[in-house]
Amino acid sequence: MFAAASGHSFASPEVYQSALPLWVILVPILLGTGLYFLKEEWTKVLKAISLAASFFALAGVMLLFPMVISGQVCFDLIDFMQMGLFFRIDLIGWIFALIIALVWTLATVFSFAYMDYEHNLRRYYSLLTITLGATLGVVLAGDFFTLFLFFEMMTLSSFILVIHEQDSEAMKAGMLYLYLGIGGGLCLLFAVMMLFSITGSVDIAPAFNLLGGQRTIIFICFLIGFGVKAGLVPLHIWLPQAHPVAPSPASALLSGILIKSGAYGILRVSLVLFSSPDGLSDAEASYIFNLGNSLMWIGIITMFLGAVMAILQSNMKRILAYSSVSQIGYIAAAIGAATLMNREGGMGFAGAVYHVINHAFFKAGLFMMVGTVFMFTRELELPRLGGMFKKMPLVGITFLIAAFGITGIPGFNGYASKTLIHDALLVAMEHYELFSIELAEKIFVLTSALTICYFIKIFRGVFLGPVPEKLDLEYRLPVSVQAVLVSFALVITGIGLFPNFVLEKIIIPAASILHYEGPAMEHLHHFHFFEWHPLEAMFIVIALALIIYIPGAWRGWFEWKPPWWLSIYAIIYKPVTEKLVAAACRMGVLVDSSVDNAYNRSGSYARELCSYVVDIDRGIDKFYASSGKAARKLADRSAEMDSGLDHLYEKSGEAARKLADRSAEMDSALDETYRKTGRAAQKLARQTTDLDKVLNKVYDQAGQKTREEMEKMLAEKKNKEDRRERRKWNIKNLSFDNLLLVLVLAVVLFIIFYFSRF
């Protein structure tokens, strides 16, 4: 990773290797973790350690300055998380780190008094310190991977600061913060991965010309990822919910510092990553212009909407939260202006960085001042407050100073940065002469006026007017609180009075890292804040503010509550999250249960089918059974037939017997008849015998004569026949030799016949 860093063409020749950045990050994180294991009762120890941690961070950052001003500090932790951790601190990062450490120290001191009224100190201080380390890690990171790691860590640890109160409102706000933070983190991760897979490195270095066609997706993912944290519209919705519910020092840090880490990311992406060391072609330049223009418009919209929303709130912390949205819009607009000007965007860059510095001080200061009021009154609603100026003059004065700062009254720090941003817009307008930029400038002026309006509103509400009876008490501010508030006021006035000091000492060297050039840069080198031209613009703003505020306050415009459907939450998030998540879940459950059902259904169908199959079996069985039955029937029939035959035989037998009986009777009757006839016949026979004897004698005598005659005739006849027989040819008469002759003849004939075929 280091090798990639050395190829950074913008890098100053001086590269210092130092482990100091690591220690600056690690010590707060380790100390913070250690704090969690201490006892709740040791408040002094808790305070001391957390203060020591922030002092250490501050000192560490300060120590980096000599190296940073002349080059970069690098530190590489190879192989950590397989990608390695890489820190590289240049002046831009250092500025952020310095503000972080400084404001954090002040906030920690402020916490001492404030948190005495709260619970769970151990967790608070522990997480506060860890978040410090993580936030420093974000700005000290040398590549996007490291940046992402600390970014996620910051989200999680600050989440616990947000929900410190743990009532339902805090939990709700915290969950919103967390979900958006994680969603944003995932977008960031996606962008980082795309970057890594396309370029092979996650270095924060110009890579515009390497990115190719997917640069739009990468930019959008980065923008969403950082924009969530920064609170760009429409990703800001967590911010007005989370900031009011957190303890005031925490909200001071959230508003003053944490959202800047988002801005830091946007700055790094659009000004460093999306730039090219080798100049741009026309198409690329116009691409960059469009990118910058969109970013600027996002910023303009954010600032305007934030201001409008702020003016309509009655909860003072919520006003400040919306104010933060609005102010981050200034920064985004400035970064956009810087981006669209490409190499000549020095003014925008300077405005953005300057406003980051200023906003950190006045917004953190404002939250702490409001926090001080809350600490004693336990009241955040403007209508129920009032007259605090008398009760807490110091708070009133510092608040006024901070308000002057944020509204851009000349002599206070906001004036310097707002002037720079305004100038950046003007420069862009002159350069491109586009109506959209002109419109943006007009909105910028209007928003600045609105800013004044809501600060008049909040100041009137809290510090002026009669003191409510309930709050009519003696308030004694702790020294630490006083010291913190005063130091904020001092810084704000100091920068306001000597704006060129910061500009020349820090911001212009920082801008030189990015090699800005052109007339804007020249102008910047000799920038005069207290000339008529910028002052005039500011007076116009103040006049405009008065024109808006006086009738507005008189007619009560600022108490108008926008209907629910106007809120971005109701328009975008609620339907998207609810419908989308619900739809996803419903889809998932539907698919899941239908798959399950399909299995069960098919199982039961299969079972049913099986039972049908069993019917088949029964059918076969039945078939056999019925055929068996048929066979039996057949058998029965045949048996019947059998018995019928039997019967027949029996009957015929009977009949035969009867017949036999009858015939027997007949027989005996016949017998009788025969016997009778026999006797008669005997008699007859005897008589015939007698007759016979007589006849015999007669015949004997007649016969002897006839026989003699017959013998004579026969002898004659025989002689005649013998003669006839000798004449006839008969087979009986064939002699053997004749037969032989025939046979021989046949054989000879056969032979002749047989052979004649050939």
């Binding site: 099986c610 199959v613 069993v614 079996d617 076969i620 069985d621």
Partner: protein
Amino acid sequence: MGPLEHLPVLMVVIFFCGAFLMPLLFRWARPICAPLMVAILAAALVMAIIILQSVYQLGPQLYHLGGWPPPWGIELKVDLLRVYMLLVLFVISLWIFIYALRDLGNELKEELIGWYYTLYALLVGSMAGIALTNDLFNLFVMMEICAITACAIISIKEDRECLEASFKYLILSAMGTGCFLLGVAMLYMATGYLNYDYLHGSLVEAIALYPRNLLLAAALFIVAFGTKAALFPLHVWLPDAHASAPSPSSAMLSGLVIKIYAFALLIVFYEVFPAEMLQGVPLNEIILWLGSLGAMFGSIYAMLQTDLKKMLAFSSIGQIGYIFMGIGFNHEMALIGGLYHVGVHAVTKAMLFMAAGVIIYATGVRKISDMDGIGRNLPLTMAAFAVGSASMIGLPGTGGLISKWYLSLGALEMGRPFFVIIILISSLLNAVYYMPIVINAFLYHGEFQFRVKPVPRVMLATLIFGMIVIIISGVFSRPAVVLLEDAVSRFF
């Protein structure tokens, strides 16, 4: 060779002699009956092993009964295939007999036991005869003996159900035998031979002359053996017969008797019918489809049974389907799978029936739904049941998987993955009805509701033996498979 030469016939004859002696001895010398039977079975087993060795050394052998050579004399044949069948037959019948020694007293009247031994010996002897014979008429005779003794061994338990079942069996079996005889007659008419080898030789020419007759004969054979082996649409007699018989008889019938007919069909189809005959007409297809239908439907029927033994009987229909599929694929791998399944299913189903017998012996429970929680009271029995179920499903580590492996491989080699799916689905169905029994037996949260008698050690020992055999057949299956590869390689 010497006396060893006569071993093939001796294996059959000692059973018939034993059968003759048993009733006599049972009257006069009751105590020696059982040991004598065991000795006969063991002797047969030893003979089979000796023959196996000699077949390995000398190749297939023919034995001419009484020295009469074929085609007139009775011929017995010994080759690896037959020896494999004999080994399965003797091992399992010896094993079942040892189990039966204890169980019979529970199911039969005392004085019938001698007759039971007779029937048992006759049954085993006739099955050995079916396996060994090399001619159709002898096969017919042995089949008749086998059928009648099988009926008797069912109906020896004197209750109405048994009588009815055995009567049904007898009728269908007689029908089968009739078909067989008709088929034999047709073959004889066409060729004039009954000896397998002679038939095989002359059928090639006879096909040209009498294609219809021979086809009819083949069809008749399918019907005949199909009926006896309970091939799918001809299975109706089986569930009643197997379920109602005494448990050792059920084990014998389901384990061996139906297999021996499948084996006979195999022999007839592969040894007798020439390949040309099977090419023209899709007889193989018919067997294959009937087998796969049986594999599916048997399992489905079994799923819906409530009586344990009836379920096992239906399961046999499914499993015999696998064996027929193995025959029907007409592929070496599948045939090995089918033959391996002959052995595996014989062991498994016999063991399952024995386990069912033990359950009935110990508790009197027959209904599946009453068996919830029985595993705690009869852990070993139910473990055996579980192992048997695993083998039926074809879980790895059991023999069932090996036979399915070869069957599926054969199906794939024939390019018919469809039948693999059938095998898998029927395995799934097996799981569906076997698994819940095992699970409810062991993991039912209630207590078993019936009184449990102690189970004799011998019965448990036989179950343990079964478990071991099943696991060995699943893990160390290589020798058997190699033997089968050698045995069937000559058909392809």
